[in-house]
Symmetry: C2
Subunit: 240 residues, 2 copies
DNA sequence: CGGTGTATTGATTTCTTTCAACTAAAGTGG
DNA sequence: CCACTTTAGTTGAAAGAAATCAATACACCG
């Protein structure tokens, strides 16, 4: 069937969605073609630069997003400026907090990214009408909860060295290009952001990176590019 | 209508549930009388002593629970024995991890407690049949996620003194008996457990408690009983 | 080619942990 | 009922890890 025609007659999958990598993600994968078409009519694809704030802490946000490309960090900030990154989200994760309008955290693009923005009202309606969507969002929330608790263990009980190794491991296992054992990736975070994620200072992060480099566990090219010759070796540095 | 008769004819609310404080909680509040009766037939009320493990880390659990009374701690343990408490749950919270059988954490009664145990299969079926139940559990998961992230900020960025104040504040706001401004409560956690929650040692916890006591923010009776003359004062120690 | 932002490295200080002694309450058994 | 042991908590002194302060190196950019 002709795609343009199917679009015209409003049957089948919208063109924009057909080749979308989030088509079968948490949100869109739960929707019927009809819902997908409706959502598509009201959604907006947007490019955001690294550092751009998607949701501000304390603000009322009237939209949700799907991450299409790039990495988004979730941050909590104290009045005196101390900051803690409380989550990292990768494509094609869903970003937003159902049931509560005011955000208790900020969402900011860590890298250049692309997001697909949905009106809050529409998604809220679809959630209430579509048990499968509710189920998938519930499942994602529980996975984020697992991740948050895993990170609590890291923050509370691991040493600086173990913390850095944990973060590198986390990013390595979420980044694409990896061969059998060796893995290479670009850090989506600056040293300052790493420090904010691990609850330490940039100096300590730097020292621990140097330690890992000198002990041969990682190689660093150009500050941001990391090569892990042996992932098992890195894993051993975490002492799970 | 006669209660015994309604039970006999299997209409209306089960007797055991009628006066249950969790009747309108996350799980039971979402169920029809029919579902409530079915759940009631297969559920079991159980007393658990402080220290008793309800779910073991790494095990497959075939049940969920409602906390009826007492406090339950969620812990993650490393092989070398380091431990981190990643959540506290109070009556009438729901305990369990839908969608995944193997538990990545242990649940242990922090105080003497009473729980209502539900078969996992039955609840899973009810979740899939009852959008309202799914919604409520989704909502609870998101609230736990908010709490976990709030705690990540505490673990990563607050000082020892702020950490202890944060915990006392958390417990105070979840414990019942409070007057206008002043609040008194029994700590559901030992010093060792507080340390495991805050990612520090019992000695440091003790020192910080002493500091709060000497500065007049709290009074301590019999180690476990805490009196907070002025909650605003305690809140100021957290430097949100 | 200086200038700016980011990262590394070094010296010193601070905070928390570790090690150790001590106290108080609770349980045990003669 | 009273020694005695056990457990939980507090306090002190010393050691250690990470933060802070300060200087320097490195890339990127106009």
């Amino acid at each position: 069937m002709d795609v343009a025609r199917s679009e015209l007659f409003e049957t089948g999958t919208p063109v924009a969605c057909a080749s979308c990598q989030a088509r079968h993600g948490v949100v869109c994968g739960a929707l019927s073609n009809g819902q997908l078409r409706e959502l598509n009519r009201h959604s907006l694809r947007r490019k955001v630069e690294a550092g751009c704030e998607i949701i501000a802490q304390g603000s009322e946000s009237s939209f949700y997003s799907n991450i299409m490309r790039g990495v988004v960090k979730l941050c909590k900030m104290m009045q005196d400026g101390r900051q803690q990154i409380v989550g990292l989200q990768f494509a094609p994760d869903f970003v937003g907090r159902p049931f509560v309008r005011e955000s208790t955290l900020s969402a900011e693009a860590a890298t250049d990214a692309e997001i697909c923005v949905f009106p809050r009202n529409l998604i809220d309606r679809m959630i209430s009408e579509t048990p499968e969507l509710q189920r998938r969002l519930h499942d994602q929330a529980l996975k984020e909860l697992d991740a948050a608790r895993e990170w609590m263990l890291t923050l509370g009980r691991r040493t600086a060295g173990e913390k850095v190794a944990s973060l590198l491991y986390l990013i390595a296992t979420h980044a694409e290009p990896q061969t059998a054992t060796s893995t290479a990736f670009d850090l989506p975070l600056s040293r300052a952001e790493i420090a904010d994620f691990l609850g330490m200072t940039i100096e300590t992060v730097s020292r621990q990176m140097t330690r890992l480099r000198k002990s041969g566990v990682i190689r660093i090219e150009n500050f941001r590019h990391i090569i892990v010759p042996d992932m098992d070796e890195l894993e051993r540095m975490i002492s799970a």
